[in-house]
């Protein structure tokens, strides 16, 4: 794909970037869940718990 103006080039790249980040926005919460779901439901936390 050849571009002759910076304008066209940016239209393309920014467009793709926008699609990309929408995907990312949706992915983040899911990934966070995946990351933390094994933890005890009591507190959603970022560190393993020592049980007592």
């Amino acid at each position: 794909m050849e571009f002759f103006t910076l304008q066209d080039f940016m239209t393309f790249t920014k467009g793709t970037a926008y699609l990309l980040i929408i995907g990312a926005l949706l992915a983040f919460p899911a990934f966070w869940r995946f990351l933390t779901e094994r933890e005890t439901p009591s507190v959603r936390d970022d560190e393993p718990h020592e049980h007592h």
Binding site: T5, L6, Q7, F9, M10, T11, I21, L25, F28, D46
Partner: protein, 345 residues
């Protein structure tokens, strides 16, 4: 390059994530574009213009614009300083340099930037730089936000404020439709003195250079539009300083898309990193709370334990005392018994 990167750094640095600067900042800069090869343009030799307004008339005709308030033959309108309007895509202005009585005439119309600010600003891509070099406008998608007018450094686009249903942005099209038919732009065709030269932009620059070379004392040594705002398809030669004929010399050479590329480039970065940052902060704050909670419970447990110990101790002492008293009493009793036995015998 450096500009957009600096802008970008500035912005990211402020937003607090300078890390990704190079990655995105480079987007705009490290790539270089020379525009469509062989695209057309017009060279306006201001020293040749005599202010006959033929171009205005032709423009009005070919674009089927409403008739002007004063006829085009009437040259008195040159006395006041005019700008483009929804009814006039091009106007000729007269400038009298203080001191000289010889007036200078300059034609105003869209300069058809190589990197149009209007196109860069438009959020529905209503403006397009086409391969002939014209910057064309598509009213069928225009929302009417008028950001193009804010963006245009030459103050060219105008708006039909008086229309209710279908107001349009109005500006010179470089007669794109005529070009498609292989005709010249209306104004160029009409200019009797060939103050307007139509041709490939590269050739026009050659011509301009040649004229400056041949007549160094007729022209000032600057081709306006060769570099301004990243270059324009319309070019200008003048015998007097451009700022004296209402053309800004302080626009710089940075093209419009570059001006905003830095800020735009940082958008994906923020979306990429903010969730991480914020969730991190959240997690940490949560952890603090939990820690606090644990301390509290711990304290309670200890307190309880302590209380229990004290209680047991008390009990033990009590029992010990009780035992002592008991055998003391026994001894006494025995002693008494023995005493009584002695007296009886």
């Amino acid at each position: 390059m450096s500009i957009s990167r600096r802008r970008f750094l500035a912005w990211m640095g402020g937003a607090g994530a300078g890390t990704a600067a190079l990655a995105t900042g480079a987007n705009a800069g490290s790539k270089h574009f020379d525009g469509y090869p062989g695209s057309f343009g017009v060279l306006h030799d201001i020293t040749h213009c005599v202010g006959c307004r033929s171009c205005e008339e032709a423009c009005n005709k070919v674009n089927e614009l409403p008739p002007p308030d004063k006829p085009f033959k009437d040259l008195t309108v040159l006395e006041q300083n005019r700008r483009t309007t929804p009814k006039a895509h091009t106007v000729v202005n007269k400038y009298l340099k203080p001191g000289s009585e010889k007036p200078v005439f300059r034609k105003i119309q869209c300069n058809h930037c190589l990197e149009p600010a209007c196109a860069s600003a438009c959020f529905v891509r209503a403006f397009q730089k086409n391969k002939e070099g014209a910057v064309v406008y598509d009213a069928s998608v225009c929302v009417g936000c008028r950001y193009c007018m804010v963006a245009c450094p030459f103050e060219i686009p105008t708006y039909e404020y008086d229309k209710v249903l279908a107001p349009r942005v109005m500006k010179c099209t470089m007669c794109a439709p005529r070009l498609a038919e292989g005709k010249l732009p209306g104004c160029v065709e009409a200019c009797p003195k060939e103050a307007l030269t139509f041709g490939k932009r590269d050739d026009l620059i050659k011509i301009a250079r040649e004229r400056i070379r041949k007549f160094p004392d007729r022209y000032i040594n600057h081709i306006y539009g060769e570099k301004e705002m990243g270059g324009t398809s319309w070019l200008y030669l003048s015998g007097v300083a451009f700022k004296d004929i209402g053309m800004r010399e302080d626009l710089g050479v940075v093209s419009a898309p570059e001006l905003t590329s830095g800020a735009l480039g940082s958008v994906p970065i923020i979306v990429g990193l903010w969730p991480v940052l914020l969730t991190g902060i959240y997690a940490i704050s949560q952890r603090k709370d939990k820690a606090a909670l644990e301390e509290k419970t711990q304290a309670i447990v200890e307190a309880v334990a302590k209380a229990k110990k004290d209680a047991e101790k008390k009990l033990a002492d009590a029992l010990a005392k009780a035992a002592k008293d008991k055998d003391a009493a026994v001894k006494k009793a025995l002693a008494d018994a023995a005493k009584a036995k002695k007296e009886g015998a």
